[in-house]
C-alpha cells in the first residue's frame, strides 16, 4: 500500500466532488436541520396542551343515554364507546393524545347514579374541552329525566393502564432525530454517494483506466473508503456538535459511527460491483434502504424477522448511536459493539473480494 498513490487518488475524488458540489448540499441541508432543531429546542420543550385526538368511553353496561351518544357521535374528537369486558380482554394501548372516560352505573335510592372518571392527556385538563363541549349538551335531556352524573377528572398518567406507546411528537427527541440525521448522513455519504461515484466510474470505464495504471486495486479501494469516510465523519461531526457536543467525547459514539460508515461503504461497494450501470446501482441502493426499513418494521411483528434483523449491523448501530447521544454514561455496549464489529468485518471481506476480483472490470 503506497501512501503517495492513495493521496493522488483521494485528491482526484475531492476534485471530482468540488466540480459537482450537489452531493455536499444534502449534508449541508441535514446540518441545517440539526441547527434549526438546536436553536428551537426551548420552544418544543415548553409544556403545553396536547389536544385530544380521540376519547374512549368505557362502560360497565348498556344504557339508553349511551345509545343516544352512539347515534350522535361528533366529527372531532373521535369517540369510541366500548364495553369494559372487551377492553380488559383486548387491552388496547392508549396514546397520550387520547382521552378516557370511565363510566360506572349504580342504582341508588335517588335513582340511577352514573359516575364518570375522565382522564385527560398531557398535563392540561383543558385538553378535553373539545370533548366536553359535545358530551354535556348531549346529556341534558337525561339529566332532566333524573339521571345523576358525578364527574371526576384526573390526568391519564395516573390511570390504571401505563402508557405503552408514545406519540411520534413525543418520540422526536433531539437525540432520536440526531441519530436519524447521523444515519442519513452516513447512508448518503458512505453508501449512496459511493455507489453513485463507483458505478459511474465503472460505466464510463474510468475505474478500468485507474486499475490499469500503476495504482493497485486495493489502493483504489482504500482511497475511496478514506474519502467517503472523511465525508461521512465531517457531516456527523457537524450534526453532533450542534445537537449533542458532549457525545463527541465518548468513544462508543466514535466506534459506532466509524463501524456504521465502514459497513455502509462495504454494502455500497458490493452494490456497485453487482450492477453494470449507475442507474441500476442507485436503484439497488434505494432497495437496500427500503429492505432495511421493512426488516426493522417486520422484526417488531414476527420472530423470524427479529433473528434476521440481528444479522444486520445497522440494528446495532442505531441503539448504540442513540445511546451515546442520550446517556453515554449508562451505555454498556460490549456485546453490541462486538456483534457489529464481526458483521462489518464480514462485509469488508466480501466487498474486498468482490471489488478486487471483478468490481473494477
Amino acid at each position: 500500500m503506497r501512501f503517495s498513490m492513495i493521496r493522488i487518488l483521494i485528491s482526484r475524488e475531492v476534485r471530482r466532488l468540488r466540480k459537482n458540489p450537489s452531493a455536499l448540499m444534502l449534508i449541508g441541508l441535514l446540518a441545517a436541520i440539526a441547527l434549526m432543531m438546536a436553536t428551537s429546542r426551548p420552544m418544543s420543550q415548553k409544556p403545553g396542551t396536547v389536544p385530544v385526538s380521540s376519547v374512549w368511553i368505557i362502560t360497565d353496561r348498556s344504557a339508553e343515554w349511551l345509545d343516544h351518544l352512539e347515534k350522535h357521535l361528533p366529527d372531532r374528537p373521535i369517540v369510541r364507546i366500548v364495553d369494559r369486558e372487551t377492553v380488559e380482554q383486548s387491552r388496547p394501548r392508549f396514546l397520550p393524545s387520547e382521552g378516557l372516560l370511565n363510566v360506572k352505573h349504580e342504582q341508588t335510592e335517588q335513582g340511577l347514579q352514573v359516575t364518570l372518571s375522565g382522564r385527560y392527556p398531557g398535563s392540561d385538563p383543558k385538553a378535553m374541552d373539545v370533548f366536553w363541549e359535545w358530551f354535556w349538551p348531549q346529556l341534558l335531556t337525561y339529566q332532566h329525566q333524573g339521571l345523576n352524573f358525578e364527574y371526576d377528572q384526573t390526568p391519564l398518567q395516573a390511570g390504571p393502564r401505563a402508557i405503552e406507546q408514545q406519540s411520534v411528537s413525543e418520540l422526536m427527541t433531539p437525540e432520536l432525530v440526531g441519530t436519524m440525521l447521523l444515519l442519513i448522513v452516513q447512508f448518503f455519504a458512505c453508501c449512496h454517494l459511493l455507489v453513485s461515484c463507483t458505478s459511474q466510474d465503472r460505466e464510463r470505464g474510468t475505474l478500468m483506466a485507474l486499475a490499469l495504471s500503476p495504482a493497485h486495486i486495493s489502493e483504489i479501494m482504500t482511497a475511496k473508503f478514506l474519502f467517503h469516510i472523511a465525508l461521512s465523519v465531517s457531516g456527523c461531526l457537524v450534526i453532533v456538535s450542534i445537537l449533542k457536543p458532549a457525545a463527541l467525547s465518548h468513544p462508543v459514539f466514535w466506534i459506532a459511527m466509524l463501524l456504521t460508515s465502514t459497513g455502509l461503504m462495504c454494502v455500497g461497494l458490493c452494490i456497485s460491483t453487482l450492477t453494470r450501470s449507475q442507474a441500476s446501482a442507485g436503484l439497488l441502493a434505494l432497495c437496500y434502504m427500503l429492505a432495511g426499513a421493512g426488516l426493522f418494521y417486520l422484526s417488531t411483528k414476527f420472530t423470524g424477522f427479529r433473528l434476521l434483523k440481528m444479522l444486520t449491523f445497522e440494528s446495532y448501530s442505531f441503539p448504540l448511536l442513540y445511546g451515546s447521544l442520550r446517556s453515554p454514561e449508562r451505555l454498556f455496549p460490549a456485546s453490541g459493539l462486538t456483534a457489529m464489529f464481526v458483521l462489518v468485518a464480514g462485509w469488508l471481506l466480501t466487498a474486498r473480494h468482490c471489488f478486487t476480483r471483478f468490481g473494477w472490470r
Binding site: 487518488l9 478500468m208 490499469l212 500503476p214
Partner: protein, 286 residues
C-alpha cells in the same frame, strides 16, 4: 532469451460454451507495429483484454515484456498503455487535469503534459472540460493519456476511429514515431489502408483462431493475383473474361481479344488487402 515483447502460447478463452479465443499462438517483437485484424467477434478484443490483465485466460500462457499475465499483472501495469475503443475520461475534468492525474499515477514528469498535448494538437482545448470535447478530440486525448508515461508497449483498439483525415495522419505519424523509438505497438483496426501503411506485421484472426500472420509485403506477394479483367462487345452483347497472365494460354487469349474484339474495359487485378481479408476470413463474395 527472446526479443519478443508479447508472447502468446496456446491461448484459450471460453465464456461458458462459447470459445472466444481458440489456441492462439503469437509473438510480437519489441519495437514492432503489429496489426491485429479480424471480423467482428473474431476474438481481438478478448485477446487484448487478456494482454492487459482484465480477462483471465481459460488456458495457455501470455507473457508481456517477460512478465506472465495475470500472475505478474501489477508489475506489468507501468510498462504498457491501453487505448480502448471507447473513451473513459473523467468528464468533469479538463483535458490537462485528466493527463495530470495519470502523469501523477505513473510518476511521469508533469512537463510531458504540454509536450503530448502539443503533439496531438490539443493545446488549445487543454483547459476545457472533456465533456465539451468532440469525439475526435476525446480520441486524441485518450492516446495522449496513454503515451504520457512513455510506455514500452502500447495497445490500441481502433485508434483512428472517429478521426478526420488530418488527425488520422497525425496519429499514424505518432505511431510510426513510437515504433521508431522502440515502442511495441499492438493495434486492432478494421482500416485495411492503415494496416498496409503503418504495420510491420499483420495477424488475421477468425473465430478465435489465427488464420495468417505476416508482413504486408508478403501478404501482397502471396495473395496478389496477376490477372487481367477484360470487357468487350460482340454482336451487341457485353462479354467479360478474367485472364491469368502467368499462363501462356491466358496471355494468347488476351492478345486475341485485343486484336479481334471491341474492348470496352481492360484492367489489371491489383492486390487489395480488403479482398484478402475477406477471403481469409471466409467472407469473400467474389
Amino acid at each position: 532469451m527472446t526479443d519478443a515483447a508479447i508472447e502468446i502460447r496456446d491461448l484459450v478463452v471460453r465464456f461458458g460454451r462459447f470459445t472466444a479465443v481458440d489456441g492462439l499462438n503469437l509473438d510480437v517483437r519489441t519495437g514492432e507495429l503489429f496489426g491485429f485484424l479480424g471480423p467482428n467477434g473474431a476474438g481481438k478484443t478478448t485477446t487484448i483484454r487478456v494482454l492487459i490483465g482484465s480477462q483471465r485466460p481459460t488456458s495457455g500462457t501470455v507473457t508481456v515484456a517477460g512478465l506472465r499475465i495475470p500472475d505478474e499483472f501489477e508489475r506489468v501495469k507501468p510498462i504498457f498503455g491501453y487505448v480502448p475503443d471507447t473513451e473513459n475520461h473523467i468528464e468533469e475534468f479538463t483535458g490537462r487535469e485528466n493527463l495530470e492525474l495519470f502523469a501523477r499515477l505513473y510518476n511521469a514528469p508533469l512537463s510531458r503534459i504540454g509536450d503530448v498535448l502539443r503533439r496531438l494538437e490539443l493545446s488549445e482545448a487543454a483547459d476545457v472540460a472533456v465533456k465539451a470535447y468532440s469525439k475526435g478530440m476525446r480520441r486524441k486525448l485518450l492516446i495522449a493519456r496513454e503515451i504520457i508515461h512513455q510506455p514500452r508497449i502500447l495497445y490500441l483498439d481502433e485508434p483512428t476511429a472517429n478521426l478526420d483525415a488530418h488527425s488520422t495522419e497525425l496519429v499514424r505519424d505518432l505511431l510510426r514515431e513510437l515504433g521508431a523509438q522502440g515502442v511495441t505497438v499492438f493495434l486492432t483496426t478494421h482500416n485495411m489502408e492503415e494496416v498496409e501503411q503503418i504495420c510491420d506485421r499483420v495477424a488475421i484472426l477468425n473465430r478465435g483462431r489465427l488464420v495468417e500472420c505476416d508482413t504486408p509485403t508478403r501478404f501482397v506477394t502471396r495473395h496478389a493475383t496477376r490477372e487481367v479483367r477484360v470487357q468487350y462487345e460482340r454482336d451487341g452483347d457485353v462479354c467479360r473474361e478474367s485472364l491469368d497472365i502467368d499462363d501462356e494460354a491466358g496471355r494468347d487469349r488476351l492478345a486475341a481479344i485485343i486484336r479481334t474484339e471491341h474492348c470496352v474495359r481492360l484492367h489489371s487485378q491489383e492486390f487489395d488487402f480488403h479482398d484478402v481479408f475477406l477471403k481469409l476470413t471466409g467472407h469473400s463474395y467474389s
